[in-house]
């Protein structure tokens, strides 16, 4: 099970649940599982989040694999100027 | 109310043009003579991106009216290189990476050329104050000053 941490307001939308273990095998799968449990998250997951898998940050990487012992952070998307 | 008819010398060539009363020299250069090397950054003489030489004097083309230049001599960035030979200032700007986006570069080159024509050995402070009328937002001025001082040294060697 990957340990998934929701950062900032995402945790609020998940009913103040900041950490959860999920059997996600990819970023896409993770978003599906999160949306199922917390429908309020769906729009935000689509709107733009970054995902850090074992310390590596990914943005817009639905197909990126998540391992069984991975630590995953879901955080707001980062842009720039 | 018709346009004014004028002739002047631009970069050594005689030119003939029509302009409205309210058009600036910068408008004439860019829109009528198609010399777009001089840039409009502010149209109020604060940024120096339109720096040109008028009868040997450094001016902001946006502060000179088109009607004022009849019979006068104008030099712009387009006249700075001699054929394929870049002016030492142009070459030093390239060598020292003294430009990033490059929008202010024509103005700086014209202004720096005016400086070196009257001050062959300027100090860093003199360079900075002479160029204080030219805004650059990208470089922080460091490499521009370095390039100007290096060009001055090269030109002193003759």
């Amino acid at each position: 099970m990957a340990r998934v941490v929701l950062v900032g307001n995402l945790a609020q939308l998940a009913g103040a649940v900041a950490e959860v273990d999920l059997p996600a095998t990819s970023v896409k799968h993770l978003f599906e599982l999160l949306s199922e449990r917390h429908p309020a998250l769906t729009r935000h997951l689509e709107e733009g989040v970054a995902v850090a898998i074992d310390g590596q940050i990914y943005q817009d990487a639905l197909l990126e694999p998540i391992g069984p012992d991975s630590e995953v952070f879901v955080l707001p998307q980062i842009a720039g100027g | 109310m018709g346009k004014h008819h004028l002739t002047a010398t631009v970069n050594g060539d005689e030119v003939e043009f029509l302009c409205e009363t309210e058009e600036t020299l910068l408008d004439v250069l860019r829109d009528t003579l198609h010399l777009t090397g001089s840039k409009e950054g502010c149209a109020s003489g604060d940024c120096g991106a339109c720096s040109v030489m008028l009868d040997g004097r450094l001016v902001c083309a946006c502060l000179v009216l088109g009607c004022e230049v009849g019979g006068r001599r104008i030099e712009t960035i387009e006249g700075m290189a001699r054929g394929e030979m870049l002016h030492p200032l142009q070459q030093k700007f390239l060598d020292h990476a003294a430009l990033q986006c490059g929008i202010c570069t024509p103005g700086f080159l014209v202004a720096a050329k005016a400086l070196l024509e009257t001050h062959a050995d300027p100090t860093e402070t003199e360079v900075r104050y002479w160029l204080a009328g030219n805004l650059c937002r990208c470089t922080g001025y460091d490499k521009i000053v370095t390039a100007v001082m290096d060009a001055a040294a090269e030109m002193r060697k003759g």
């Binding site: 900032g8 720039g80 | 142009q90 202010c104």
Partner: protein
């Protein structure tokens, strides 16, 4: 060992150019005036487009009557809100970003209300600038002027004038019953903030204020649109992202994306301010109506009033530490102006605030607040300079209170590889400590100071991003290489990409000619921003080169009648290995080019990636300044920047980013601010009174490039463009404190403010 020997580079690279100071290939055109920026394009028969803008900071638009303007000879088209279909309030993909187009369409052309002075209300296209100006005067707009609010704290009050009656604060439970100007509340937290402060032996708490500042690019926004009778559009514009411009225009005007071809002109500065659209949709709409090309250029006044300055803000920071200097708890509350529509950079401001430090207990709250000033656009490391200014000021005060050297205090608490960032994930290899050490080792750090002089140090962080990037490499028949990238070159990108391509393919740098292709000539590219263009572009070049190298190896194997594992590409040649080496000579890229057609066809590669693995950037700045107690004027005496670039592809352009960002930060700290009258109108909409640094305001900026390679990049590159604007605000404020004994908590520290502070403490000299 040379740099080339220790340099991270893909196997087989020539290691000749990356890390050296080549002459940029687009340089000659820029020093001769030949290069074409946004306003330098013209088409036969073009019309001049101009925008009518609201003179009021807040007003309902009751009616717009264009009839008299339309009747003026020479006026060929007019557009208003009626020409832009309304957009639903949902976030939709625009390129890679999610945009709320309901807000975008209203910012481009006001609908129900004018929400700031300078808000576009109508636009005309006419045969001359004079006629266009007269036409604007003939447009009759009836406004119902409303009370306005600009300051962020004022805008948050429950009785403040309301900008949007359908804006309810997101992020609070339960959802508020009444709308307000607070669009969003966000929060990040780790540990137990109360327990953390309980453990602290010293606590410093301060509140700071910053004013809106503009990106200050010297080139105003410019666009030239030409729409054909079949509805296809060509657009030339000055932009950081022509694919994004295409996406926005397609959406706003209901056009197929493929029907719009956008060419990015050379761009005269952007810094984030040219990542959105203002004139482009207007120019296309006008051209479509007029059936002629329409050229639109903003005046300097319009740039200040009608583009996207960054947030003014209020920031409260509370930092607790033990007596020996260990941070135990950190709290901050950020209130950022978003401008007329929601979307300030408070989110990254929140995430960056304490990012350089390893702190167990952290809580940062942020508020995104609308008010009657232009909609905020990105400005170099958006949000971070503001929050990190506040934090670095408090860290400095803590260092003084604890009598600990300010660099040592930062070192003691520095984030390192493996540190869990306050915003979530653990850091990989990072170079923060290296920048602190680099500064400490300088002669600058120990140089003597006189009375009224002060020295300040501050650090900064920015995430950096990757993103969708396409680069195509084509080997021409004579062995030269054409490179087409798709991210506008703001300051040296073409040089960097050509250097990488030259090393990857083992060809001379002069034989690689890079261009920035239009949207029809290269695949989708996210915009230039986020410190991504060299990072992602280099990655895409490596990918494209890999395809070429693999193709050439396959051709060689067939030509030489050997197996694929008996050939290898190294330093510009395909070499036979093992037994084959005795039988055939290696072939260069140019050799293959000569026989390309005969061995399968033209040689090329396409790097099409969504670059991941951007490495976070850290910098530490050191500044000496002198205060004139008579005038309040501050002179910057000396400035040193140390920043981790991962790997500098072109050291001069990396230094250039460091120097340029530092000077923008100096301007932000000392002079730049938007000054509004009580009528909500901008009083300093020009370069004379919006005072940016000039050459005589600053000394040489010493740039120390630190290199802690980013393991996720083939060349170890980290983005460098944004980090350098983050530390200067804190560094200058900290130096001011040392010079005057006064902790300035409001920016800018302009002469009137400095004088006032000196007077209040009896320090003013007459």
């Amino acid at each position: 060992m040379t740099m080339a020997d220790t340099m991270t580079a893909p196997h087989g690279s020539s290691r000749t150019y990356v890390g050296t100071r080549t002459i940029r290939p687009d340089g000659v055109d820029k020093v001769t005036g030949r290069a074409r920026f946004g306003a330098d394009f013209n088409l036969a028969g073009q019309l001049v487009g101009r925008v009518l803008r609201s003179p009021h900071a807040h007003a309902r638009i009751l009616s717009i009557d264009v009839s008299r303007a339309a009747a003026l000879p020479g006026v060929k088209a007019i557009v208003t809100r009626d020409d832009f279909p309304d957009q639903s309030s949902e976030f939709v993909p625009a390129g890679e970003m999610m945009m709320n187009y309901r807000d975008v369409v209203r910012n481009v052309m006001a609908r129900e209300k004018a929400l700031y002075e300078g808000h576009a209300v109508a636009a005309v296209a006419a045969t001359s600038a004079a006629i266009a100006r007269r036409a604007l005067k003939l447009i009759e707009v009836r406004y119902e002027v409303l009370p306005h609010v600009i300051d962020v704290v004022e805008a948050m009050r429950p009785d403040a004038p309301l900008l949007h009656d359908d804006l309810y604060t997101a992020g609070v439970e339960p959802r508020p019953e009444k709308p307000s100007n607070v669009a969003k509340r966000i929060e990040i937290a780790q540990g137990d903030i109360e327990a953390g402060f309980h453990k602290a032996e010293v606590i410093i708490e301060r509140e700071f204020r910053t004013a809106p500042v503009h990106q200050g690019y010297i080139e105003p926004h410019a666009a030239l649109a030409s729409v054909s009778e079949d509805g296809s559009a060509e657009l030339w514009c000055s932009t950081q992202g022509h694919f994004i411009v295409r996406a926005h225009c397609a959406r706003l005007l209901g056009m197929d994306i493929a029907r719009i071809r956008v060419t990015a002109s050379e761009i005269g500065g952007g810094f984030g301010g040219k990542t959105v659209v203002y004139l482009e949709p207007l120019a296309i709409a006008l051209s479509k109506k007029a059936n002629r090309p329409v050229k639109m250029v903003m005046s300097r006044e319009e740039v200040f009033k009608s583009s996207g300055p960054t947030s003014g803000a209020t920031v409260r920071v509370k930092l607790g530490a033990t007596r020996d200097g260990r941070f135990t708890a950190a709290f901050a509350e950020l209130k950022y102006q978003a401008g007329a529509f929601q979307g300030s950079p408070v989110q990254p401001g929140v995430m960056c605030a304490f990012a350089p430090y390893d702190i167990e207990h952290v809580k940062v709250i942020g508020y995104d607040v609308v008010s009657n000033r232009p909609k905020v656009a990105a400005y170099r490391a958006p949000g971070a300079p503001i929050s990190e200014y506040a934090v670095e000021s408090v860290v400095d005060e803590l260092a003084k209170t604890l009598d600990i050297d300010p660099i040592d205090l930062r070192m003691q608490n520095a984030a390192r590889e493996g540190t869990k960032a306050a915003y979530g994930p653990k850091f990989g290899p990072i170079g923060f400590e290296e920048t602190l050490n680099a500064i400490k080792k300088t002669e600058h750090w120990n140089a003597p100071l006189r009375k009224w002089q002060g020295r300040g140090v501050a650090s900064g962080f920015w995430f950096n991003i990757g993103g969708e990037t396409c680069v195509s490499l084509t080997v021409n028949e004579d062995g030269t290489v054409s490179l087409v990238a798709g991210t506008p070159d703001i300051g040296g990108l073409r040089a960097s990409l050509a250097m990488v391509a030259a090393d990857e393919l083992g060809v001379p740098y002069e034989k690689v000619r890079p261009i920035i292709g239009d949207t029809g000539s290269v695949g989708f590219n996210f915009l230039t921003g986020g410190s991504r263009s060299a990072f992602s572009g280099a990655m895409a070049v490596v990918e494209a080169a890999k395809q070429i190298k693999s193709d050439l190896c396959a051709r060689a194997a067939k030509l030489w009648d050997v197996k694929l594992d008996e050939v290898e590409f190294e330093r510009g040649h395909v070499k036979p290995l093992g037994a084959a080496a005795d039988k055939v000579e290696p072939m260069s890229v140019a050799d293959f080019a000569k026989v390309a057609g005969k061995t399968g066809g033209p040689i090329g590669g396409n790097g099409r990636i969504n670059a991941q693995g951007a490495g976070p950037g850290f910098g530490t700045h050191l500044v000496d300044l002198e205060v004139d107690p008579e005038t309040g004027r501050v002179t910057i005496l000396r400035y040193t920047v140390a920043q981790d670039a991962g790997r500098a592809i072109h050291p001069s352009y990396v230094e250039g980013q460091m120097q340029g960002g530092a000077v923008q930060g100096i301007g932000w700290a000392l002079n730049e601010e938007y000054v509004y009258g009580t009528d909500g109108k901008l009083q300093n909409a020009g370069f004379l009174d919006y005072r940016m640094p000039v050459a005589s305001d600053v000394p040489m900026i010493d740039a120390i490039v630190v290199e802690v390679p980013n393991p996720r990049h083939p060349y170890g590159v980290r983005g460098v463009g944004e980090v350098p604007i983050v530390p200067p605000l804190g560094a200058v404020a900290n130096a001011m404190e040392q010079a005057t004994g006064i902790r300035f908590t409001e920016l800018p520290m302009s002469p009137p403010r400095v004088l006032q502070a000196l007077k209040e403490r009896g320090l003013h000299k007459v």
